[in-house]
């Protein structure tokens, strides 16, 4: 097991280095001039000579005056030391500006995990057990709606229903502007603002996950060992939860890994619609503004998350199913 983990860690390092070269090359091939963008709005207030001097200073500050291989190794070295560069949009180190949106995204996603899994797992199991019943049909119809409608349509529909027509939730934001109160009141105020995006996230996630759990459970319930368990006289609860569900876990773990990564990545649509200042919004803004330091840092972060996530997923297979051997 230890040997396997060490081997995988070595793979992670190699993949990381290869991917870093590819990603860096990709970003460098994107047209545009970050140094010019950094000064674009100041131009009207500067004399041409002053602008040129500032432009050259910006080129130097961003390291754009050096050959590409030097730029790459400088960037990689700095990244490994935890220096992710300087954001040309926020005019501050990436490390300094990334904290708040990352916290917002993690919070929204962690809170959404609770109802999503609390609803989808029992619902998926229940519909699999009662396959073909009226209950199953109704759940199938409802989940297919949530699954097939685009995020932004559902988000706007929920805003229209629950924030405009029946104004019980705020339309956007993380807290009431200018809110003053105790920590508890602030916490409650944030939860109140989080409610609608959370509801939308849960609603849109129900379809896919419920159907996935249902499918894996149906597969598991067809196995011979389930018939054996039933013929041994075990209760239906034990058969379903101890025998069938455990065997249905392996494909479910694959899905869980994706969710683990998404906790940090944020949802562009949800965050932009509800103006939840999170990572999805930051990355899109960074790409639009050619703020490469931010987008490069985040892409590399997600790359590491994906590689580590995959390792954890493989290790989890072994824990969930003793038949899986990791060598």
């Amino acid at each position: 097991m230890l040997k396997y983990v060490l081997k995988r860690l070595m793979y992670i390092i190699v993949v990381f280095l290869i991917a870093s070269v590819l990603i860096f090359a990709l970003y460098k091939s994107v047209p545009g001039d970050p140094a010019r963008l950094m000064l674009e709005g100041s131009k009207q207030n500067m004399k041409p000579e002053e602008y040129e001097a500032r432009y050259q200073e910006a080129v130097r500050k961003l390291g754009l005056d050096k050959p590409l291989p030097i730029q790459y190794f400088t960037w990689l070295g700095n990244t490994l030391r935890g220096d992710f560069g300087y954001s040309i949009t926020y005019k501050m180190p990436v490390k300094q500006m990334i904290g708040v949106p990352m916290k917002n995204t993690i919070m929204l996603n962690v809170w959404s995990l609770i109802p999503v899994f609390a609803i989808t797992i029992p619902l998926g199991i229940a519909t699999a057990v009662r396959r073909g019943s009226r209950f199953d049909s109704i759940v199938q119809v409802v989940t297919i709606i949530g699954y097939s409608l685009p995020f932004f349509v559902i988000a706007l529909l929920f805003i229209f229903l629950f924030a405009v027509k029946i104004p019980i939730f705020p339309i956007s934001g993380v807290q009431t502007p200018g809110f003053t109160g105790s920590s508890i009141q602030l916490f409650m105020n944030k939860l109140y603002h989080m409610a609608l995006p959370l509801i939308v996230m849960v609603f849109t996630s129900l379809g896919g996950l419920t159907r996935y759990v249902r499918a894996t459970m149906i597969e598991a319930l067809r196995m011979d060992y389930i018939r054996t368990a039933r013929s041994k006289g075990l209760t239906e609860k034990v058969v379903i939860y101890s025998h069938a569900f455990r065997n249905a876990l392996i494909p479910f773990i694959t899905i869980m890994t994706g969710w683990f990564i998404s906790i940090f990545s944020g949802s562009v649509v949800i965050e932009r619609t509800f103006l939840w200042n999170g990572m999805g919004k930051v990355i899109i803004d960074a790409l639009n503004q050619q703020d490469f330091a931010v987008s490069l840092a985040m892409v590399m972060f997600y790359l590491i998350l994906a590689l580590v996530g995959n390792l954890l997923m493989d290790l989890s297979y072994g824990l969930a199913d003793p038949r899986v051997k990791l060598d």
């Binding site: 994107v30 047209p31 545009g32 001039d33 010019r36 000064l39 709005g41 100041s42 131009k43 009207q44 207030n45 500067m46 004399k47 041409p48 000579e49 002053e50 602008y51 040129e52 500032r54 200073e57 500050k61 926020y90 005019k91 501050m92 300094q96 904290g99 708040v100 916290k103 919070m107 962690v110 809170w111 995990l113 609770i114 609390a118 706007l156 805003i159 924030a163 405009v164 104004p167 705020p170 339309i171 956007s172 934001g173 993380v174 807290q175 502007p177 200018g178 003053t180 920590s183 602030l186 916490f187 944030k190 939860l191 932009r272 619609t273 103006l275 939840w276 200042n277 803004d285 050619q290």
Partner: protein
């Protein structure tokens, strides 16, 4: 066991949430102000960031807040669109033209000015403001300031060759002077060059002193980059993020990075703007909104104002709310326009006849109507409809400028007059037989084919494709559109990193500055090409008029207007751009807000200080 795990997970999530909610370490908040009754929330689609000090950000919303926290400038911008000496801060001043042609403004500042914390504002705060922005230490911090190069002694001071700024004098506790270089004069907007606001030296540079031995203002040795880094860039209390000592009608209250919301509250010590306005709304908050739901936020009262709304759909939604007595509104033309820009240095678009032919081939009235949904106007020159020069002379300009009304006969005649009379074989062009006109240029036949760079998902590009491209075929011209990323479009427009220029036509927008530097934008000096003169137009006559405008005596308004009209006429003839539309911006606001009168040159930050809230 599973139930226990679930409970543990729920508790963990709750604890993390509680830490998150309570621990807003990054939120910058001032000490609580006295209870504020009147609160106005402005919704803005431009995100507020954490910068509240000049030098780092150009965000429009941050500029609003900075402006609200800045007061007692030596020179202020008026509602009429002029620069004047601020009588509240500067009870008396003197202007002297020196023997070497330089010009010295000596300011006596009022003795009763204070910052919001009660500390007195003295001449050294104004002098420090200039010295700090011009110093190499500010550059080392990463700040960008455009002011100062016009002052005598700037270059040596800025380059760190001397610690003394010879053109800036500290003449006493309440007196200082600024000397403008002779090479910058005469300059019509010279008052704008000496617009300085005080910044609290005791906060930004504690322990630093300014001395003047008669040769200029000198900062003491204690003024270092490290000191500024501590006082300005500290992530928690740095002046850049938390400017607690300010001079304007409003003072900093809070900035919450979690939802990009910032607020300011009234500064009770503020003596007034140039017209006596002190502000009366207790607290102003700027909140991020998105276009899809901003009108709903206004309808449900989650915000009180929206400004700069354009586009028929949004404006009509606002007007519907006005009909329901939910909001009031004000409107004003954009200080700029959407345009077709030409590269005037190569290919067919280097010839003004071709540019005029394109203008005649486009029904601009219909174009503007379709694009703005009826909420826009047309301009015919390099101006905005709210410029005072235009407003004073609207009837004359409307009469004398060519409006280029849609007329294919005139378009064709322009091409004939311009020598586009040959076919691809060099024989006379025959309408109905030949598709594309040609012209003999430097011994070679040049086809009348124009490469046009446009951007995706852009309704202006779609309208040009539908309303212009088919029309020019009728006069023997071909426009080939290529959709590129906006950054690529800019590279080609500025000709940065472009070995061989391809595109002769672009569509994009432009805006004017309050001191529009016509002489840079239409300079024939190649140094100005690309960054300022993006048309690469080298018309000596246009440049000469612009330079003559620059040299106008600031008091000679009639002379300025005369030259301005001359410039507009020449520009209108040369047509380096075709103005397509100028949006009619709408501000919608809660009816409890009264006295709010914005205009293109008098935006939210100015108008809100003069507005008030009624019950």
């Amino acid at each position: 066991m599973r139930k226990r795990m679930l409970v543990l997970f729920l508790i963990a999530a709750f604890v993390v949430g509680a830490i998150y909610a309570g621990g807003d370490a990054e939120a910058a908040t001032a000490a609580p102000a006295a209870a504020v009754k009147d609160v106005v929330v402005l919704g803005s689609s431009t995100q507020v960031n954490g910068d509240f000090f000049d030098g780092w950000t150009n965000s429009a919303t941050n500029a609003y807040l900075k402006q609200l926290m800045t007061g007692y400038e030596t020179v202020v911008w008026t509602k009429e669109g002029r620069y004047v000496i601020n009588p509240v801060a500067i009870p008396s001043y003197d202007v002297v033209t020196n023997a070497d042609g330089s010009k010295t403004y000596t300011f006596e500042i009022a003795t009763n000015l204070t910052y919001n914390d009660g500390s007195p504002i003295k001449a050294q705060d104004y002098v420090f403001s200039i010295l700090y922005a011009a110093s190499p230490e500010a550059v080392a911090l990463g700040a960008n300031y455009g002011t100062g190069p016009e002052y005598v002694g700037y270059d040596d001071f800025h380059d760190g060759l001397t610690k003394t700024f010879s053109g800036i004098r500290l003449l006493g506790d309440y007196s200082f002077s600024i000397t403008i270089k002779a090479s910058e004069l005469p300059y019509f907007f010279d008052l704008s060059l000496v617009s300085v606001d005080p910044i609290p030296m005791h906060v930004l540079a504690p322990g630093v002193t300014i001395t003047d031995t008669g040769k200029g203002a000198t900062l003491s040795a204690a003024y270092t980059v490290d000191l500024l880094r501590k006082t300005i860039l500290d992530p928690v209390n740095g002046y850049r993020y938390k400017p607690m000592v300010t001079s304007g009608p409003y003072q900093f209250e809070s900035y919450n990075p979690a939802d990009s919301t910032a607020s300011v509250v009234l500064n009770p010590r503020f003596l007034g703007e140039y017209d006596g306005a002190k502000g009366s709304i207790g607290r102003l908050i700027i909140k991020l909104t998105n276009t899809a739901t901003q009108m709903d936020e206004l309808r449900t009262g989650q915000i009180d104002m929206l400004h700069g709304i354009s586009g028929g759909t949004q404006i009509n939604r606002g007007l519907d709310m006005y009909d329901e007595n939910i909001v009031n509104y004000a409107f004003y033309p954009r200080y700029g326009y959407g345009k077709i820009a030409f590269a005037c240095d190569f290919g067919p678009t280097q010839f003004d006849h071709v540019r005029r032919a394109i203008a005649y081939s486009l029904d601009r009235v219909e174009f503007a109507r379709q694009y703005t949904g009826g909420f826009g106007i047309l301009v015919h020159g390099y101006y905005g409809a709210s410029m005072w020069e235009y407003k004073q002379n609207a009837s004359k300009l409307d009469k004398e400028l060519n409006t280029y009304s849609y007329n294919l006969q005139k378009a064709e005649q322009e091409l004939i007059d311009g020598g586009w009379t040959l076919n691809k074989d060099g024989k006379p062009f025959q309408k109905g037989v030949d598709a594309i006109r040609h012209k003999m240029v430097d011994g070679k036949l040049m086809p009348l084919v124009i490469e046009w760079a446009n951007t995706a998902n852009n309704p202006v590009s779609d309208l040009i494709s539908a309303m212009l491209v088919p029309e020019v075929k009728n006069i023997g011209m071909q426009i080939n559109g290529t959709t590129v990323d906006f950054a690529v479009l800019l590279n080609h427009l500025y000709k940065e990193g472009i070995d061989a220029p391809v595109y002769g036509m672009f569509n994009l927008g432009t805006g004017f500055a309050t001191t529009q530097a016509y002489w840079y934008y239409y300079s024939t000096d190649p140094e100005y090409f690309g960054t300022y003169n993006t048309n690469f137009i080298a018309d000596k006559e246009l440049e000469a008029i612009a330079l003559d405008m620059k040299k106008t005596d600031p008091t000679d308004l009639a002379g300025w207007v005369e030259k301005w009209i001359k410039f507009e006429k020449r520009w209108n003839y040369l047509l380096p751009d075709i103005p397509l539309y100028s949006d009619m911006y709408h501000d919608f606001f809660n009816p409890r807000i009264v006295g709010y009168e914005p205009s293109s040159t008098w935006d939210w930050r100015y108008a809100i200080v003069r507005a008030r809230v009624v019950k």
